[in-house]
Symmetry: C2
Subunit: 100 residues, 2 copies
């Protein structure tokens, strides 16, 4: 675990707070027996909001990597970035090879 400040930290925290509140509201809708199609629309909205906050976190991660990439550890930093993208998108991609 590493601790460091993120440029868009405030925005990420606010978005996550809103998402948590939105999920709570959907739970209440389910408790009230609201129509399935209404629940699906709200679940879809939360999924979009999560994707958006994921992109903001990814931007922070990329900008952090770019700051560090002037160092001799450039390849390792880029590999970490690619790993993070893989984990988030659930895809596998090739590591940054020795061509640089």
């Amino acid at each position: 675990m590493s601790l460091h400040p993120h440029p868009q930290s405030k925005s990420v925290i606010n978005r996550l707070a809103r998402i948590a509140g939105h999920v709570e509201a959907i739970k209440r809708m389910a408790e009230e027996g609201r129509d399935c199609s209404e629940l699906l629309v709200q679940i879809s909205a939360v999924t979009s909001a999560l994707n958006s906050v994921g992109k903001v976190v990814l931007e922070d991660h990329i900008s952090q990597c770019l700051v560090d990439s002037g160092s001799p550890q450039q390849r390792e930093v880029l590999n970490k970035l690619i790993e993070a993208i893989d984990k988030y998108l659930g895809t596998s991609s090739r590591r940054w090879e020795n061509s640089h």
Copy 2:
């Protein structure tokens, strides 16, 4: 707005409660300045959990439609189902045409 019981209502409510707690935990991670890649892994896990609960709600919706589909309003019921799937998946599909 319509109110009616759903077969898997309890499961949906429990899953949504867990998801809301998970998002709160990610917010705390962001507040602590935890690494972006850690946040991305957790955001990805919540997205998967949301997709799962969406599928459960969709199953409920389909089973409800099947219960109703013996009635003369069969075509209209199926159109509502298709609409709900479109809204959830963000896709557009053809309406259930007059071939039945």
